[in-house]
């Protein structure tokens, strides 16, 4: 460990907070319909979208919806997105006329495409395929990039709807889905992606439609380098907490993440919206301290994970020590576990990126998580176990932690013997039932799928040869379904679902079991919690607000932060601890080689 390593972790947290506060203020204005400095640019396109999509009322913005109408629009829109994406990916060669398939790649098989489509639509971006040997530029742009925007937009829309339910003073409306979606795409995602993409190109990311480069290197060996419109996809991949790499090695690839500086920029891009949403929530709730309390909860858990991961990775692995490799810091060498890490990021830059990407639903990686130390690998799994509430995905994070807040309020209320209230609204049996079921869906999906895959012969096919028969094999399986159930998308990437002997998909086949189980896990664990979150929004929206009295439990002070962390850790730990013990913790606690 080095001083600069620690400076990166804590400096990152400070920069993030400084950037997220003004963005939160801006986003509160966007969703409350107040004026913003980008209005002159986007008001006309916004009206145009409404008009073409036939949702405007003679030029006025679309009307409010109750939670059922909101949910219906959301589900139908997602289904339309699924169908179009599946079509584009399965007809890859049909689009060769655009010139955006210079390597003439064929489509991936149906099962892999099913998994990929479900994955990108649910903001997961789990990838059984590798980008540079599977996808045409057209599929990457018109297919995958589009869902990077839209799945993020859907997530933020749900969070905004839940906030409106919590703070609503009037009746049943929780906003309008189309309005929230279009505003998110135009006012939030497009401008930030635009800036980040250009910063990435300025630093060395590529952005072209060329053939792959073929040449002989200085020693005469034949080389080939994949090209493509990388920066534009990279920017929204991070900003929308999507995480699906243009290339197979994701943000470790020098064209996706060329320098130490871009590594910092990409980490900030991943967390900026989830962090800003919390501040936005405080503003919209009319009590900024509510936002600060949630932010503090998230930040404590985030920094805890980052510190543990950094210490673990700096220590090195049993395999390194058994091979006689010395892992202490030397002059001019990082030391530590450099297996599956890039020199330009080093240990701290890799460990921090890993935590950033697993607390959110991003899942982009700049190092091989499978090669992390036992404890270093347990940190991302613990982050996933917390069900995306430590910042979480764009939107998903906020609506998930608000469900936890309601649960904590309920438990706190029971402890002091009062009717639980949140922001003046009574939390009653109906809400708590919805909250509890909503919060249990993700763990249920993760554990059920893991059990099925571990117990079945078909599931064990996916485990990599080097990991078979060891705790690593269980870790791979558990991580795969934990990641897909949390719509994260990062992986112990030895776990495979696609056998591809050559680039371009001819002669390739997918492992149907892994692709289907993963696909259904992602769909179920995305849309079921969304429905419950919207239902909670709907019931809360209609409730009257009673003024806070002496007996009201405060939800904006350190005591509540501690209570909230306790509830999150308890629910996560009780649900996942046995599984964590079987995989990464066993490996972390022993020097034994398997």
């Amino acid at each position: 460990m080095t001083f600069l390593g620690w400076l990166l972790i804590f400096g990152f947290a400070a920069i993030l907070t400084a950037l997220a506060m003004p963005l939160g203020r801006y986003m509160a204005a966007v969703y409350s319909g107040e004026r913003t400095f980008l209005d002159p640019l986007f008001l006309t396109p916004e009206r145009l979208f409404y008009k073409v999509m036939r949702v405007d009322r003679d030029g006025a913005p679309p009307p409010g919806q109750d939670w059922k109408a909101y949910a219906k629009s959301l589900l139908i829109f997602s289904l339309a997105g699924w169908l179009l994406l599946y079509f584009i990916l399965r007809t890859q060669t049909l689009w060769n006329f655009t010139g955006l398939n210079p390597e003439h790649f064929h489509s991936a098989p149906w099962n892999v495409t099913f998994n990929t489509t479900s994955s990108f639509m649910t903001n997961t971006n789990w990838q059984y395929y590798s980008g540079e040997t599977t996808m045409s530029y057209f599929s990457q742009m018109a297919g995958l990039t589009v869902q990077n925007f839209l799945s993020a937009g859907v997530g933020i829309a749900v969070a905004v709807a839940l906030i409106r339910g919590i703070i609503g003073r009037s009746g049943r409306s929780i906003g309008n889905f189309w309005h929230d979606l279009i505003r998110t795409v135009l006012w939030v995602l497009t401008p930030i992606s635009f800036v980040v993409a250009l910063v990435l190109v300025f630093q060395g990311s590529i952005q072209n439609f060329s053939h792959y480069l073929n040449f002989n290197g200085p020693t005469g060996l034949a080389n080939s380098i994949a090209m493509g419109p990388v920066a534009s996809q990279e920017a929204i991949k991070e900003l929308g907490t999507n995480g699906g790499g243009f290339f197979n090695t994701n943000s470790a690839h020098p064209f996706e993440n060329p320098t130490g500086f871009t590594n910092l920029v990409e980490m900030l891009t991943v967390l900026i919206i989830p962090a800003a949403l919390v501040f936005m929530y405080g503003r919209m709730a009319g009590n900024r301290r509510q936002g600060y309390a949630i932010y503090a909860t998230m930040m404590v858990m985030f920094l805890g994970g980052a510190c543990v991961a950094y210490i673990a990775e700096a220590h090195g692995t049993p395999a390194q020590h058994a091979a006689g490799l010395h892992t202490q810091v030397l002059a001019g060498s990082t030391g530590g576990n450099m297996e599956g890490k890039e020199q330009r990021f080093g240990i701290a830059g890799s460990a921090l990126f890993d935590v950033v990407t697993t607390v959110t639903s991003c899942g982009a990686v700049n190092s091989a998580i499978e090669s992390f130390t036992g404890i270093g690998g347990a940190v991302p799994m613990a982050n996933l176990s917390a069900s995306e509430v430590i910042f979480g995905g764009v939107g998903t994070g906020l609506y998930s932690i608000l469900l936890y807040v309601l649960l904590a309020v309920f438990i706190g209320g029971l402890m002091v013997g009062r009717t639980p209230e949140y922001l003046g609204k009574k939390i009653e049996a109906r809400e708590i039932k919805l909250v509890a079921i909503g919060l249990l869906i993700t763990p249920l999906a993760a554990l059920f799928s893991t059990a099925l895959a571990t117990a079945s012969h078909a599931g064990r096919q996916s485990i990599s040869a080097a990991a078979a028969g060891s705790p690593q094999g269980f870790s791979e399986t558990f991580y795969a379904y934990l990641s897909q159930a949390n719509n994260n998308g990062s992986a112990f990437a030895g776990y495979g679902g696609f056998v591809q002997p050559n680039a371009g998909n001819l002669g390739s086949h997918g492992i149907t079991f892994a692709n289907l189980l993963g696909g259904f896990t992602m769909l179920f664990a995305r849309y079921a919690p969304i429905l419950f979150a919207l239902a909670v929004a709907g019931t809360l929206a209609g409730k009257r607000v009673s003024p806070a009295g002496l007996g009201t439990m405060r939800t904006d002070n350190p005591t509540f932060v501690v209570l909230l962390i306790g509830v999150i850790v308890l629910v996560g730990a009780l649900t996942f601890f046995p599984a964590l013990l079987l995989g990464p913790i066993v490996q972390g606690l022993t020097g034994h080689l398997y």
Binding site: K72, I76, A80, L221, A226, H326, M338, K341, E342, Q343
Partner: protein, 231 residues
Amino acid sequence: MRKDIITAGIGIVVLTLFCGILYPLVITGISQVAFPGNANGQQVKVDGKLVGSQLIGQNFGVQAYKNGKPVIQSGVPVTNPDPRYFQTRPSATVPSNNAAATTFSNLGPNNVATEQEIAANISAYLALNCPTALDKSGNCAHWYDPAVTTAVRVPVDAANTSASGIDPDISVANADIQAYRVAAVRHLPLATVMKLVSKYTGGRGLGFSGEPGVNVLELNLALDRMTGVHA
């Protein structure tokens, strides 16, 4: 319901045009005008011929021959590192440093396979930096770099596989050890090679993000320019 279906159908098409066509095209247009070198991959040419990208690590090896025939193992040519060139980090891609099919090694922290891979990388690294064959215990009579004794001085980045498989950089410690070999093989003063190493050592982002690394392609090409050696 019907209204939602119509709106969703039109919506997904216009949003695809906006996010999937317009946005990448605008970014491409601006990038190609403002940063054409970067946008096309920082291509490096020697005498007008493409030899690589500054950002992509390469295999600086030469084809191995046995009985006058090139050695091929499971369809992949076997190469030996060229001692005149600084060598990049170990790579898990097939063939090594394949920038058209990148992959992680995905070797776990407690796997026997990992230990074997690291041990093999250490041996290969030591063998490369010894002018003669290693003795049975893996030692060398006269290392190029006298400070190298055993695995103690092998930097982690030289024995651990990179993430992308095409890491363009090596650590400064790794480059310093290899500098002794390159200087000896190319008959250059050590100080000259060391000067080039520090010339091609990049810094940290904003002074605190990441680690310094030595860009191997740039360094090797600078050496070629200096000594006129070009295979």
